[in-house]
């Protein structure tokens, strides 16, 4: 005779960093890790928006598999043994972060997001003390044409959170990406001045999901731009509960 288990039918167990955790079918590795207080670095992922999978910081190892898996978009699977913080992963993450820093002009000292910036915090968290890939020092515009907000391409990491929140939550799809590769840029409409946009509703969602000082409220001085992001989980829940 077997005793019926109390575990819900669709849940299973797996290991993350040697800890036994239980996961439900359909959950990603990242979700399971978060539920169990295991922190996995990430920059493009935000709860409440679609998965992007572009920053590659959340790559994890799965024992027995050669390739690495993005925790944000890999389904948890039964008996999988996940490693989130090996020496190799730490090394890769630091280099990826350095690549991000080298791409644009991130000058934390004079940034309105200093102290509230996910990129800055990530550098400290991952123990990145300097950038050993050469800086590009590209020339980028700052769009201050909107009365309330500013888009500073110099501080953009192309995580596309703004693009996703604008299309998926606000439904305006004002923000997009133009070009490709290293030439990619966040744009408004047909790459117009933000202030001229007739599709932008000035809802400020893009500003508040932006992890860095690329999208900010005007009139903030250095280190003043704290982001408020509670609306995202709120809207997600409210929408689920509204017929």
């Amino acid at each position: 005779m077997t005793v019926p288990t109390i575990v819900p039918a669709q849940s299973f167990s797996m290991k993350i960093d040697g800890i036994d955790v239980s996961a439900r079918a359909g959950q990603t590795i990242l979700e399971v890790a978060q539920e169990n207080g295991i922190e996995i670095p990430m920059l493009c992922y935000v709860e409440g928006l679609s998965n992007w999978g572009g920053c590659r910081l959340c790559l994890v190892e799965v024992v027995g598999q050669k390739k690495l898996f993005p925790a944000c978009s890999t389904a948890a699977s039964e008996d999988a043994q996940v490693v989130t913080n090996s020496e190799r992963l730490q090394r890769y993450r630091r280099t990826i972060l350095e690549l991000i820093f080298s791409e644009r002009n991130h000058v934390c000292a004079v940034c309105v997001s200093n102290g509230h910036c996910e990129l800055q915090a990530m550098a400290q968290k991952l123990g990145m003390t300097h950038i050993h890939v050469p800086y590009r020092f590209p020339s980028h515009d700052v769009d201050s044409s909107h009365d309330r907000f500013r888009l500073d391409q110099n501080r953009c990491i192309l995580c596309t959170r703004c693009v996703r929140v604008c299309a998926e939550i606000e439904g305006a799809a004002t923000k997009g990406v133009s070009g490709r590769g290293i030439e990619s840029l966040i744009i408004n409409d047909l790459k117009e001045a933000w202030g001229d946009s007739q599709t932008c509703t000035s809802c400020s969602k893009c500003v508040h999901v932006c992890p860095t000082g690329a999208l900010v409220e005007k009139g903030t001085a250095a280190a003043e731009m704290a982001k408020r992001r509670q609306f995202l989980p709120y809207l997600t829940v409210m929408r689920e509960n509204t017929p």
């Binding site: 999978g53 572009g54 991000i100 890939v133």
Partner: protein, 546 residues
């Protein structure tokens, strides 16, 4: 068209072809076209007319004959006399000598290894049929395979034959085709799609273009067979906009086949429907990646997404989708006609059948070739390719395009198959084969491919977007003679990071040309760096004072 009508048509066409004593075939594929093949054809036609020989010597436009470097090419059939570098002025001599000895000054011998060492399956009709005539294809057993599967085989049996054949994807990675078909066929019911990937983006590869220009119906037939096998009734051909001639011929072929009832609804009176549409690419190499290709057909930016889910389960418009490359699909009609076992008898243990290569670069005979898997690189380059011109020394052969690598002299006797190429740091790829001699600098070659990957990176993931840029900068610096040992170390480190952390195949394989040139030709990097250090050796003199 009914089965009887197809057979009747084939017989009728064969009889008609036998009526002629000779036939002048002019290659009208892009290569020969750009050296003036259309003027040659016009001249031949008018000479034939002038001599009143239209009834005995028809002039036909056919597809690629392979030896592109010697074009325009004209062949006299069925004698099998080949003429090279033909000009309009040669028309009269060619026509008057059809019953006589060939015209010596333009005669191209066909008993050379270039012709005798090849084995043609995919290219069996290339240079023989008129790509703009459906009847020509039908006379060459065209659409027999489709008829066979629709009237004699269950879908599962078709998948089984493809599995038995051992055919592997010819687009690059070599995934077993039968397995892919099986997955899509089992992926539930309802709407499914077949996509033919004709976005041949590797610089230095033109196999698919040649097949599409020379024998478009073969690909349509392969797609229809695939559609039947996996349960799809719609197909898309995703083709580069840079191939106008191939697009024109495909459009014509789709129209012809649809009008003849070989595509469309209730094919051969069965319940099977299959329609094909063209979708033009717009210049993005990354769209060769399956999920990016799907995004592009859906009208979006060609960005790859993480897999799983795989397209076989969640593909075009969210439906199960089979994606095969042109050459893979072009193998299908022959496999069905002759059976999977026949195909599996050709090639090596793990790599069955033949492979088409576009042979180019510093080699005597450049053009399109098809060889059984397992021949050696040396045979391809020195026998079929005729060796290196101008008495220069062979240095390396590049296979696999920007995802592949450079193979040096020491590995030339290795058999060409998926695994062996991988072992020496390259890949089979889609079939571009670029030969390099001593005049090529390998750092320059690596830089060339990295520039390609950098400009083709979609920009979605950080390692590929920024990593390819940084690697290109480093390669450029080393190549310009300004590199340092630290630069080389950083280059190696970035290769490791980009390879292991990029989102899709483009990024993951972009370091390959660097890794393979480092593996075999690191001394060329070191020499450039040593020279740079010598130039910079001057130590600073003087004091530091406030």
């Amino acid at each position: 068209m009914t089965p009887e009508e197809l057979r009747h048509k084939a017989a009728e066409e064969r009889t008609a072809q036998k009526r002629y004593k000779h036939c002048l075939n002019v290659c009208m594929a892009a290569g020969c076209m750009s050296s003036g093949a259309d003027q040659v054809k016009e001249a031949l036609t008018s000479v034939v007319r002038r001599y009143g020989m239209e009834e005995e010597v028809p002039v036909r436009a056919v597809g690629c004959m392979g030896l592109c470097s010697a074009g325009p090419l004209v062949s006299v059939e069925p004698k099998g006399v080949l003429y090279q570098e033909v000009k309009a002025e040669d028309a009269s001599d060619i026509v008057t000598s059809v019953n006589d000895v060939p015209v010596k000054r333009i005669h191209c011998p066909t008993d050379t290894p270039f012709f005798t060492r090849q084995k043609k399956i995919v290219l069996e009709n290339c240079g023989k049929v008129d790509p703009e005539r459906l009847e020509d294809y039908i006379a060459a057993d065209g659409y027999e395979a489709l008829l066979k599967v629709l009237t004699e085989m269950k879908p599962a049996e078709v998948v089984q034959q493809v599995t038995i054949s051992g055919l592997r994807g010819r687009g690059g990675a070599g995934f077993p085709t039968g397995l892919k078909w099986g997955t899509v066929s089992k992926a539930g019911t309802g709407q499914k799609y077949v996509i033919c990937n004709a976005d041949e983006g590797d610089p230095g590869a033109f196999m698919d273009r040649a097949v599409l220009e020379s024998d478009p119906h073969r690909v349509l037939e392969g797609m229809a067979v695939a559609g039947y096998a996996v349960g799809a009734d719609r197909g898309y051909i995703y083709i580069r906009a840079e191939y106008p001639l191939a697009i024109k011929r495909l459009r014509l072929a789709i129209r012809q086949a649809t009008r003849a009832g070989l595509l469309g609804n209730q094919i051969f009176g069965t319940t099977f429907n299959f329609n094909i549409e063209l979708r033009l690419g717009a210049g993005a190499f990354v769209c060769g990646e399956e999920t990016a290709l799907i995004a592009s057909i859906e009208g979006r930016r060609g960005l790859p997404r993480p897999r799983p889910p795989f397209p076989a389960n969640y593909g075009l418009f969210g439906r199960p989708t089979l994606i095969n490359n042109v050459e893979t699909l072009a193998n299908i009609p022959t496999i069905i006609r002759n059976g999977g076992a026949w195909f599996a008898s050709i090639g090596t243990e793990k790599s069955k059948g033949t492979k088409v290569f576009a042979l180019a670069g510093r080699v005597q005979n450049t053009g399109l070739i098809e060889v059984p898997m397992g021949v050696t690189l040396r045979e391809i380059i020195f026998d079929i390719g005729g060796g290196i011109p101008e008495g220069k020394k062979f240095k390396a052969v590049q296979t696999g395009g920007p995802s592949g690598g450079c193979i040096p002299e020491q590995h030339l006797d290795m058999p060409v198959d998926y695994e062996s190429l991988m072992q020496v740091g390259s890949i089979m790829g889609s079939g571009g084969m670029i030969v390099m001699d001593e005049t090529s600098n390998m750092v320059d070659v690596a830089r060339f491919f990295m520039e390609f990957c950098m400009t083709e990176s979609c920009g979605k993931c950080v390692p590929c977007r920024v990593g390819t840029y940084q690697m290109h900068e480093l390669l450029d610096r080393i190549h310009r003679g300004q590199g340092t040992p630290t630069d080389l170390e950083l280059l190696k480190e970035l290769c490791d990071v980009v390879k292991n952390t990029s989102l899709c195949g483009l990024g993951q394989t972009s370091p390959n040309p660097v890794l393979s040139t480092l593996r075999y030709f690191e001394h060329e990097y070191q020499e450039l760096i040593a020279a740079a250090n010598q130039a910079h050796a001057a130590t600073p003199a003087g004091e530091v004072t406030r």
